[in-house]
């Protein structure tokens, strides 16, 4: 099992840092799956994290100048590690302006992802900062927990409004209530609603558009376009998702399975992030 990768380009480094920072905002701990072509950040929907799950996928070739991987075996050429993304974030933060950053799997007193950055200095000799980030290597028998989640058979799929607007609304609603209802229909309308003893607030978004998913989504095709599908969710989970966003994605969508789950999808050229928030009664 071997892994080493190198970033030379500042743009790629910043981009990778933003992805990791986003993950850091979403979860305290996650699984990093390294394959020949991709890096995945995965959170599986355990009760401990409120049933929230996450799947972030990026193409290694768009980030790394060098990338060598030898998985656990030839038929399973990948590596699965549990990491604290905050450590990775912190390490990358100190590597800002680095001439190059190397990331590799090392064996110290415990397995580590070692991040070594060559930094500019006042002399001809670079500064070198090395961070040993402890990881847990996940044995192959547990890998099935970290497979890509299947797309739920949603009732409504809708494009999200600008995330910044959505964030202000959700931030204020969070001050007023613990739960929020997300509802949307196939006419491009989405509402965010809260209701308490003191106040009820509804924000109406319209003309958002509905993504074309093709014939596979039979359930939504026969649906009344005006009919709202809705899910009541823990407002903190949604806030967390919105807080983490550091870049404006090219596409952002929300799929709702009525009274079951909301499935948020952000797409950028070479990164995709999916986030699942279960509905509560």
């Amino acid at each position: 099992m071997k892994f080493r990768a190198k970033i030379n380009d500042v743009g790629c480094l910043n981009h990778f840092t933003r992805v990791v920072n986003t993950i850091t905002k979403l979860t305290k701990t996650c699984v990093v799956r390294l394959t020949v072509d991709n890096i995945f950040f995965v959170l599986s929907g355990k009760v401990a994290n409120g049933g929230v799950s996450m799947w972030c996928e990026l193409l290694q070739v768009n980030f790394f100048d060098e990338y060598q991987l030898e998985g656990v075996s030839e038929d399973a050429n990948e590596i699965c590690l549990e990491v604290n993304p905050e450590n990775l974030s912190r390490a990358l933060k100190t590597a800002q302006n680095a001439k190059s950053v190397k990331i590799k799997l090392t064996k110290k007193h415990y397995p580590c992802l070692t991040l070594a950055a060559e930094l500019p200095s006042l002399s001809s000799i670079s500064r070198v900062v090395t961070h040993d980030i402890p990881v847990d290597v996940i044995p192959r028998r547990l890998w099935h927990d970290f497979k890509e989640p299947s797309m739920p058979d949603f009732d409504v799929s809708i494009y999200l409004p600008p995330l910044k607007t959505m964030k202000s609304v959700v931030d204020r609603m969070k001050n007023l209530s613990n739960y929020l209802v997300v509802e949307a229909n196939l006419s491009g309308e989405m509402n965010l609603k809260i209701e308490t003893d003191l106040v009820s607030v509804t924000t109406h978004f319209k003309d958002l558009g509905n993504p074309p998913w093709g014939a596979s989504q039979s359930q939504s095709q026969s649906r009344d376009v005006e009919a709202m599908a809705h899910a009541r969710v823990d407002i903190r989970k949604l806030q967390q998702f919105l807080m983490g966003q550091q870049v404006n994605p090219t596409k952002s969508m929300c799929n709702i399975v009525d009274k079951r789950i909301i499935h948020l999808i952000l797409l950028q050229e070479d990164v995709s992030l999916q986030y699942f928030i279960p509905a509560v009664a």
């Binding site: 071997k2 912190r90 415990y110 000799i125 500064r127 040993d132």
Partner: protein, 381 residues
């Protein structure tokens, strides 16, 4: 005492107070003919800081006619006076400090723009002189660098990190976070930064060594050095003897004296060895048994005037201690202040233990870590 600071020096004074507030909770003031000294010591007495503002620092400086003027006061109350640095910079034109012994009052008057006059009357207590015994000039190792280098260096370590290890060779410096090897931190992220000697203004290494000390106080001094734009010199010997961080220019001088971890404790950490026998044998809470002063900082709170105390050899530490701490001080430490930091106590116990010479191994070991690459890494599951 009556002195007046003007212009940018008011901000320098304010920064000095802020720096000292990172060390201890009380400010010790002593005006002498050499200038105004401001001192602080931390509750476990493992860190001591002293600023001397010479008479030339002030527009007017009048030392008390008799030399016996020493006082201390809560540093928070002095900080209140200089709270907002931006407003100091924007509006304060002149700062006058007067000491009134009859009323036990220190009066600080800030003359601000638009005629606004801020007068603070702070009460103080008389006290004995507080002085650490150290001799930085006899240290075998000395590094000096611009504050920017130190700031950039410290930035790599998380704010929560308490101690940092500094290792030196003839042409390199390594900084590493020091993690106590209890269960919680055994899986902490380890960070190491390597700097070339060329980045330092002055680099004189007499012996390759590695010391561990608290980062908090270094950060405190950085607050000051950065504003004043003054280089920081670091003087040190072997593990267990204090490190001195020093800043000076023609009108002021600052020395921060910090305890370092003994070699044993140091080694324990690096071997990641869970057995901490030496520490278990000693009562970790008992500050009085913690014989730190002799080889770290000797606090003179005796009636002797002036800072002329002789450094004591390590062997006489027990006797030394009783002379160094006045009764009054001891009581206060035990009854009023928080119990001393346990980690620090153990840190000091560690440093009493006889030194073994595993030092060179360690440096080699760390170099190895730095040089390792993926080729020699084995499968980890």
């Amino acid at each position: 005492m009556d002195c007046v600071a003007t212009g940018g020096n008011v901000k320098v004074l304010a920064k000095a107070i802020h720096s000292l507030s990172r060390i201890g909770e009380e400010l010790y003031l002593e005006p002498t003919e050499d200038g105004l000294t401001l001192r602080a010591v931390n509750s476990s007495r493992s860190a001591f800081a002293c600023f001397l503002m010479t008479p030339l620092f002030f527009q007017r400086y009048q030392a008390p006619p008799d030399q016996a003027l020493r006082c201390k006061m809560p540093i928070k109350s002095v900080q209140t006076v200089f709270r907002s640095l931006s407003s100091l910079e924007r509006s304060v034109e002149k700062c006058r400090i007067e000491m009134n012994t009859e009323q036990s009052r220190l009066r600080i008057t800030l003359h601000c723009k638009h005629g606004l006059l801020k007068t603070h009357n702070l009460s103080f207590q008389d006290c004995e002189s507080l002085q650490a015994v150290f001799d930085k000039d006899s240290c075998t190792n000395m590094l000096r660098a611009q504050p920017r280098l130190w700031v950039d260096t410290v930035l790599h370590f998380p704010p929560s990190l308490e101690e940092v290890s500094v290792s030196v060779s003839s042409d390199r410096v390594w900084l590493r976070n020091h993690v106590e090897d209890d269960a919680d931190s055994s899986k902490a992220m380890m960070t190491e930064l390597c700097l070339s000697s060329e980045e330092f203004d002055h680099f004189a290494i007499g012996s390759q060594t590695s010391i561990t000390f608290c980062l908090k106080e270094l950060r405190g001094l950085l607050v000051f050095a950065e504003t004043a734009g003054l280089p920081i010199s670091m003087y040190f010997d072997e593990p267990g003897s204090p490190v001195v961080l020093s800043v000076s220019d023609s009108v002021l001088e600052a020395n921060f004296v910090l305890a370092t971890l003994s070699e044993d404790a140091h080694q324990r950490n690096h071997n990641n060895n869970k057995a901490d026998g030496p520490r278990a044998g000693l009562p970790p809470d008992d500050f009085m048994c913690d014989d730190i002063d002799s080889y770290l900082i000797a606090m003179e709170t005796s009636d002797l005037a002036g800072p002329s105390y002789e450094p004591q050899p390590q062997s006489s530490s027990t006797n030394h201690k009783s002379r160094l701490l006045s009764e009054e001080e001891d009581e206060e430490e035990e009854s009023v202040e928080r119990p001393p930091n346990k980690k620090f106590c153990s840190l000091f116990f560690g440093s009493v233990l006889p030194a073994s010479s595993q030092l060179t191994n360690q440096t080699v070991q760390s170099q190895e870590v730095l040089a390792s690459d993926s080729e020699d890494e084995r499968q980890s599951d």
